[in-house]
C-alpha cells in the first residue's frame, strides 16, 4: 500500500499532470500534491500521485556512504590480514 516508486517526469501536459516513465511504461500522474516540478525531475509516485520530489544529490550522498562503509571494513580486514 505504501509502496511508491521514483520516476522521471517526461512531459507535463498541464500544471496538474505529468507523464512519467516507469521502467519503460509511460503513465499519467497527478501533480496536485507538489509544487515547483519540471520535466526531468524525479518524483516518488504512489497510487497515481507524485508525493514528493527526489533529491538526486542526496541520493548520491547516500550511495557514496554505502560504498564508504564497505570500503572501510575491507581496509580493516586487509590490515588484519583477512582477505575479503
Amino acid at each position: 500500500m505504501c509502496l511508491a516508486i521514483p520516476a522521471r517526469i517526461e512531459a507535463m501536459p498541464n500544471e496538474e499532470t505529468a507523464i512519467v516513465d516507469l521502467g519503460g511504461v509511460r503513465k499519467e500522474v497527478s501533480l496536485a500534491l507538489i509544487d515547483d516540478v519540471a520535466i526531468g525531475d524525479y518524483v516518488i509516485v504512489h497510487v497515481g500521485f507524485a508525493l514528493n520530489k527526489m533529491d538526486p544529490q542526496e541520493a548520491e550522498k547516500t550511495l557514496a556512504l554505502f560504498a564508504e562503509m564497505g570500503a572501510a571494513v575491507a581496509a580493516q580486514d586487509e590490515a588484519a590480514g583477512n582477505p575479503a
Binding site: 500500500m1 505504501c2 511508491a4 516507469l22 497515481g48 500521485f49 514528493n52 547516500t62 571494513v73
Partner: protein
C-alpha cells in the same frame, strides 16, 4: 530503474553487512522494529536477516494498512456493495481480506445471485472519481484505506468531487495514523511492563515520512528513549538504517536520524499536510486489528465535506467483529509473535487461501515469510 537498482546492489550489501558485524557488540542483543510492511517485505525478499549477525533481531511492526484494518471495516464496504448496491471501488490489496459470513469483497462480487456486488479494483483514488463521473445514475463509494502516504490522494479527490459538485461520489474513510500506532506499541504491556518484546529502536517509515516529515518521531526518541532511523524501502536502505541504529545503541543515543534524505525532510510535504488537514479531522477512536481501539488514531471526513462521507450518506454503523480464534495476526502485528508461531501459518492459511489479513497483503509479515520461504528457516 534509476534510484532503485543502485539501492539493491549485492556487493554494497556485503560491505554494509560487514560493517554491521564489525560494529555490533557481541555481548548485546539488539532488537529493532521495522514499523512498515514495506520494510518487512524488503527484509524477507532480499534475505536481509541472513546478512545480519545472530544477535541482531528484526521485529515486524504493524505498518501494513490492509493488515491493521479490522474485519468490521471490510464488512462495512461489503454492506455498501450488497445492501446499498453501490459501485464499491477499492485498492486491489483489500479485495481478498476475509470478512464476516465467509465473505470478502472479491467473494461479494462473485456471488451468484442478482445481488452480487459491483466491486471494482482501482489503482488510484482518481479512478474512483472518474467512475463516479461516468456513472451519474449510480452511487460510487471509494474504500479509502492507508497510512499518511495514501491519505493525501484521497483528500485531493474529495476536494475535486466538491468542485465538480458530484452527488453520487463518497468515501468510506479508514485512513490511520502512524505515530498513534507507534505510541500504542510503546505503551503496550509487552514492551513497557513485561518486557517480553524487547525493542531497542525503530526503522521509521519511508513514504509515510515523505509526507509527514521526520519531526513527528522526535517525540518517541525523547519521551520513550527509543532511537528512530527513517529508511527507504530498498534493501541497502534497510541495512544502512540497521547500522545507524546499532551505532545509536552502542553510543547510548536516542535520536531521530534520516537515512532516506533523498526523499524525506524534517518538515515533510506541507502542501499535502495542509490538504489533509482541510479535508479530514481526527476520529476520537478507531479500532485496529490486533491493537484494539486506539484513541485519536485515525481520520474522519470533516463536516464541511460531509456530503462525501459514505458513513453519513448511508448511515453506516461500525460493528466490531472478533478475529478468527486460531489466527495470530493480532499478536504478529504487535511484534509479540512471528508468523511461524501461528498454528495456521502455511497450513490452513496461505496467500491463496488467507485466513488472516497478514497473509493477504504483500506487506503483511505472513505473506512475506511465506512467499520468500522464510517459514522454512529454523526458529
Amino acid at each position: 530503474m534509476k534510484y532503485i537498482d543502485e539501492f539493491r546492489d549485492g556487493r554494497l550489501a556485503r560491505g554494509l553487512a560487514a560493517a554491521i558485524a564489525a560494529e555490533t557488540d557481541p555481548e548485546w542483543r539488539y532488537a529493532f522494529m521495522e514499523f512498515c510492511g514495506g520494510h518487512t517485505h524488503a527484509i524477507s525478499r532480499y534475505g536481509v536477516t541472513d546478512l545480519l549477525p545472530a544477535n541482531v533481531r528484526m521485529v515486524h511492526g504493524p505498518g501494513c494498512p490492509v493488515c491493521v484494518l479490522p474485519i468490521g471495516r471490510v464488512d462495512m464496504a461489503i454492506r455498501l456493495a450488497l445492501e446499498h448496491q453501490v459501485i464499491l471501488c477499492s485498492y486491489g490489496d483489500c479485495l481478498r481480506v476475509p470478512a464476516s459470513d465467509s465473505l470478502s469483497l472479491l467473494k461479494a462480487r462473485s456471488l451468484k445471485s442478482a445481488r452480487g456486488g459491483d466491486v471494482r479494483m482501482v489503482y488510484s483514488a482518481a479512478d474512483a472519481l472518474r467512475i463516479a463521473e461516468e456513472n451519474p445514475a449510480r452511487q460510487v463509494v471509494f474504500f479509502a484505506i492507508g497510512f499518511e502516504t495514501t491519505t493525501p490522494p484521497t483528500a485531493v479527490v474529495i476536494k475535486q468531487a466538491a468542485v465538480l459538485g458530484l452527488k453520487n461520489f463518497s468515501v468510506l474513510c479508514c485512513h490511520v495514523l502512524t505515530p498513534s500506532a507507534i505510541s500504542s506499541i510503546l505503551e503496550s504491556p509487552e514492551v513497557r511492563r513485561w518486557g517480553t518484546v524487547p525493542l531497542d529502536g525503530f526503522i521509521g517509515p519511508a513514504h509515510v515520512s515523505t509526507v509527514i516529515g521526520s519531526r513527528p518521531y522526535e517525540f518517541f526518541a525523547e519521551e520513550y528513549r527509543k532511537p528512530v532511523v527513517i529508511a527507504g524501502f530498498e534493501p541497502l536502505d534497510v541495512m544502512q538504517a540497521i547500522l545507524m541504529l546499532v551505532r545509536q545503541v552502542n553510543e547510548g543515543r536516542c535520536e531521530v536520524e534520516n537515512e532516506f534524505t533523498r526523499a524525506v525532510s524534517r518538515e515533510g510535504n506541507l502542501k499535502a499536510q495542509n490538504l489533509v488537514a482541510e479535508v479530514f479531522e481526527l476520529r476520537r477512536a478507531f479500532e485496529w486489528r490486533g491493537m484494539g481501539t486506539i484513541p485519536y488514531s485515525a481520520l474522519a471526513i470533516r463536516r464541511e465535506f460531509a456530503a462525501f462521507d459514505a458513513e453519513k450518506r448511508f448511515a453506516l454503523e461500525y460493528r466490531p467483529v472478533p478475529d478468527h480464534k486460531a489466527c495470530d495476526c493480532g499478536a504478529i502485528l504487535r511484534g509479540v509473535k512471528q508468523p511461524r508461531d501461528c498454528k495456521l501459518f502455511g497450513t490452513v492459511c496461505t496467500p491463496e487461501n488467507p485466513i488472516g489479513s497478514c497473509m493477504v497483503s504483500s506487506e503483511g509479515a505472513c505473506a512475506a515469510y511465506y512467499t520468500y520461504g522464510r517459514h522454512k528457516e529454523l526458529a
